[in-house]
Point group: C2
Chain length 191, copies 2
């Protein structure tokens, strides 16, 4: 299938992702440059530009490479249980190093139209979809009112989560996740 020519170096790819993460950790995302990544990874700038259009694309790939795969929706068959588990996992998973990467990517998405597309459609929308999916299952079981807008509920949660990330308005802890859970359950309740 793959035509002639030297194949892409997986070593170089990993070196680039690793270098990017290290630079962000040591000096912050604003200190991250394509040139610095290439230098640290001992890789040609040509190679970096050949495979990634921007440093944001590198960081996004590094983030997804680290997370292995998108965390699946919980499915215990009970809305309250599933929602609480999902929100806790989402909130607690958006702290520390991950938080630093996430806010940098969101920032970059506001400044780079091309990256914005891939970030919004290939990352943000997928996380909302996972949530809407298990809410939909709960609705099929009659646990959710038929008139509730599930997309809006998902936006309420991710909005609050991102707001805490971006505005630093409060901690991303279990208490926050549980408060959100209780609030959303009130909105979802039928009748």
């Amino acid at each position: 299938m793959s035509g002639p020519g030297r194949p892409r170096s997986e070593t170089a790819r990993r070196a680039v992702l690793r270098a990017a993460l290290e630079i962000v950790e040591e000096s912050g995302y604003s200190a991250l440059t394509m040139e610095g990544i290439a230098r640290r990874a001992s890789v040609s700038k040509q190679t970096v530009y050949r495979w990634w259009p921007s440093k944001a694309a590198i960081v996004l790939e590094a983030l997804q490479d680290g997370a292995a795969k998108l965390a699946p929706a919980p499915d215990a068959g009970d809305l309250a249980v599933d929602l609480r588990a999902f929100l806790r996992r989402s909130v607690l998973g958006a702290r520390g190093r991950t938080a630093r990467l996430l806010v940098a990517l969101m920032a970059e998405a506001q400044l780079d139209r091309a990256f914005a597309r891939s970030f919004r459609n290939g990352f943000l929308a997928q996380r909302r979809a996972v949530m809407v999916e298990f809410l939909d299952r709960a609705r099929a079981r009659g646990e959710i009112g038929a008139d509730v807008d599930l997309e809006l509920v998902a936006e309420l949660f991710f909005g609050a989560l991102w707001y805490r990330l971006l505005a630093a308005s409060g901690p991303l802890d279990r208490a926050f996740a549980d408060e959100m859970t209780d609030a959303l359950l009130r909105l979802l309740a039928p009748g």
Copy 2:
């Protein structure tokens, strides 16, 4: 009061703010540079750096200069009426040119720690405070349950608003504002 020396030129100040807004409108925030602002405003770079630490600070001042003053909280004496009015005004006021400025500032706040402080404390926190303030009045009238966390409710709204701004997950229209109003009223209802 003001000591000796030539006073600050209000003409230069206005020229800088105007130039910044024009550049953002014509070429987008990512094309905005301190150098370009100075050039367009026919002002020395020295002058720009003397009064503003970053282009984000310039844009923030231009935004607040344009809005004249912080919109006050509504006070019709009825929670549903006030909340609906406030959310509509907030949502509809975050579109068009203002939206472009807001997302750029939020992005910059993620990349510039000094600007982040002034933006979060001097802008974001104040908008939440206006909302919490009139919610508090409604609570004093018994329209809101004593156990409801008003700060969290404010975060839910502004979170969703900012999420739509940053993630472009849906339109910022009256329908969105009214859906949010209904949702928040359910959360605020006593009992």
